[in-house]
């Protein structure tokens, strides 16, 4: 039979062993260092790609901007060209020009209209007046004297014998000029 004193000693021993077993101990450091180089390389590569990408994007945008401006200029030029050609067509279609051409060819205009009936081969009644040239003389402009533009006239001496080679441009300089770009005197 055990005495109470002996029991207490046993319990104490068991408790100490349990405490000993349960105590945390520092694990020896096993330090693992992740490699830095790939990470830096990755970040650098991303940064570089970003910067280069941005640069390329910006450059492309600039190039597109220049291309757009050039194309706009080209479009403007083509529009002007189209307008000039249209003006030329209008001029060619001008009834005055056609009338003058017809007159030069000796064409005349009947005073009265005549019709040919193809079914009966009959021609309608002739006019009592002979055909006449088109009345195409342009109307004389009633220009007030005050609006007659000033003309600069330079008299050029007749070339003397021996002066076979006139100064370049002299003939042009001596012509009669008119004021204003749109002036048609």
């Amino acid at each position: 039979m055990s005495t109470p004193q002996l029991s207490r000693v046993r319990v104490t021993r068991i408790a100490e062993e349990a405490v000993e077993r349960a105590r945390l101990r520092v694990v020896p450091a096993t330090r693992v260092r992740a490699p830095k180089v790939p990470f830096v390389m990755l970040v650098s590569a991303i940064l570089l790609a970003g910067v280069v990408g941005l640069l390329l994007f910006n450059t492309t945008m600039q190039q597109n901007s220049f291309a757009a401006a050039d194309l706009q200029t080209h479009a403007d030029e083509l529009r002007s060209q189209e307008q000039a050609l249209q003006a030329e067509i209008d001029e060619l279609n001008d009834p005055q020009r056609i009338g003058e051409a017809a007159n030069r060819l000796g064409m005349v205009m009947p005073v009265c209209p005549r019709f040919l009936y193809t079914a009966t081969n009959k021609v309608t009644e002739a006019c009592d007046e002979p055909p006449a040239k088109l009345p195409i003389d342009p109307p004389a402009a009633a220009r007030p004297d005050s609006l007659v533009p000033h003309r600069t006239v330079v008299k050029v001496d007749a070339p003397t014998k021996g002066a076979d080679t006139p100064v370049k441009g002299a003939a042009k300089a001596g012509r009669v000029g008119s004021h204003g770009a749109s002036s048609t005197n």
């Binding site: 901007s65 009834p95 088109l134 003389d137 004021h179």
Partner: protein, 593 residues
Amino acid sequence: MNSRSVSPFRLKFGFLVIAIVLSFYGARLVQLQAIDPGSYAEMAHQEGLEEIELPASRGAIVDREGVELASSMDGLMVIADPALTVARAPELGRFLADKLGIDYFATLDKLRKTTGEGSHYQILARRIPATKVRKVLAEAADEGFQGLTTERDPIRSYPLDDVAANIIGFIGQDDDKGPLAGLERTFNKQLAGTDGIARYQAVKGRQIPLSDATVTPPRDGKTLQLTIDRDAQWFTQRTLAQVVRNWKATSGVAIVMDSHTGDLLAYADYPTFDANDPQATSKDYYGSKGAQEPYEPGSVEKALTLSAVIDSGHAEPETRLTVPETITRDGWPIGDHGRKGTAKLTLAGVLAHSSNIGTTMAAETMKADQLRDYLTAFGLGQRTNVGLRGESPGIVPATPWQAIQQATISFGQGISSTPLQMAAAVNAIANGGVRVSPSLIEGSATTEDGVEVGTAHATATRVISEETAQKMSRMMETVLDPVEGTAPQAHIPGYRVAGKTGTAQVPNPNGGGYLDGVNNNSFVGFAPAENPRFTVYVAVMGVHGGAGGLTAAPAFKRIMSYMLRHYGVPPTDAKATPYATTWGGPGTGNLAP
């Protein structure tokens, strides 16, 4: 060992200086961020901001087929910087004079103007087509010339020069003043459109990508379409010019109208001007005299008076009149041109012989108010509102009329109307008694005074019955009768043509009465009479001698023939069935008093 010690004074001084400098920075920071930061942000934004006007293209004026009578074109002005051009001025002057057609001497002066105002900015040429300028400047650059630049300078061109110039008008050289005459001015709001604007950040004129940009696009002007036919207009103008010159008249008007719709197919004034060079002509000729200047229409009016007499039931075409050599009203004698003795004429004969006395007698069967109502219903005394500037309403004197007044008004003196009014009035007879208001604008357009005009607003009003119109049309055919009529020269073989001559005295501008030996001659008519397509009015003003049948009628014939041919109206080969113009037997006739 020698330890370096810092003087406390120097240390304090240094701190003080740094504090002062930092306080300046601080103050500036407060100024920028706390006091009015918005304006600074705006200033930063404005730096490099480009603002470009986007010009609206001016609408064209086109004829009824869409042919441009007034068109807009890109143009440029050529500018020189004399500081850069003076070195090679003669050579450059020759080059530009040859290429741009400008005056060599004037250009040379500008290229050498290195002192005073404009020493860096000389305009050498204006309103040159952009294509031409670009080509010339490229050649100039190849030649090594420097100091030439360009600026936008739009061109308004009129491809047909003087054709329809009196209608269309023109735009002057001074951009600030805008259009100066004609439809260009009346419908400027519609034609001009609204300029747009573009704002963006730019470097050296090029837009910075992705930068803020605000663009208000321009609204181009709208096209104005006329009822005018270009070819008919050209022919009418040339024919009118020829007759005015041949007869040494002062001016002339010719109007061609579609009888059913009232569309003006041609409207010619002479003298006229070149819309591309209006300064070459006196500005007295810029307007549309056919609508602006009323005149006493003379015998043409008789067609209206006698229509009123028939329509009101006071007479018939074959009503018999005994027409004395002269009659007197209020002490004034009235006679007939070239007729002696008493004549027995029917009402048709009165019109065919253009008898003033016969017309007076017929008109006197009506009350003045009644006759005046008819004349105003024909459109006299009121504007036609076709859209031409400064249109005159003419004058139909208010009643009561004196006897002499009623007499003269009945044959077209003492009353004034414009050729356009008279063309529309006679066209009512051609159109079966319904007056259609004349139109010059296709569709609808609003004038600068806010009046809506155009074919969309044309009105049709019955003036006389269809029966009366047919009777009057037959009566007017006798005017072209080779024996009885006053205008056989207007006859067109194969067609039935109805018309009336007018030979009116010209009021003396220096006082009362009329000028001796000077007449305003006119002829108005329509064809084919059985189904009229066109009404043509020709007036030749200030003719020494002559008569409507001699001067205006041949021009009418040419213009009407052209219209019939141009629009392919086949001849009807029908003969006119004229009324008797004279009568015989006893009695004084049956005109009811």
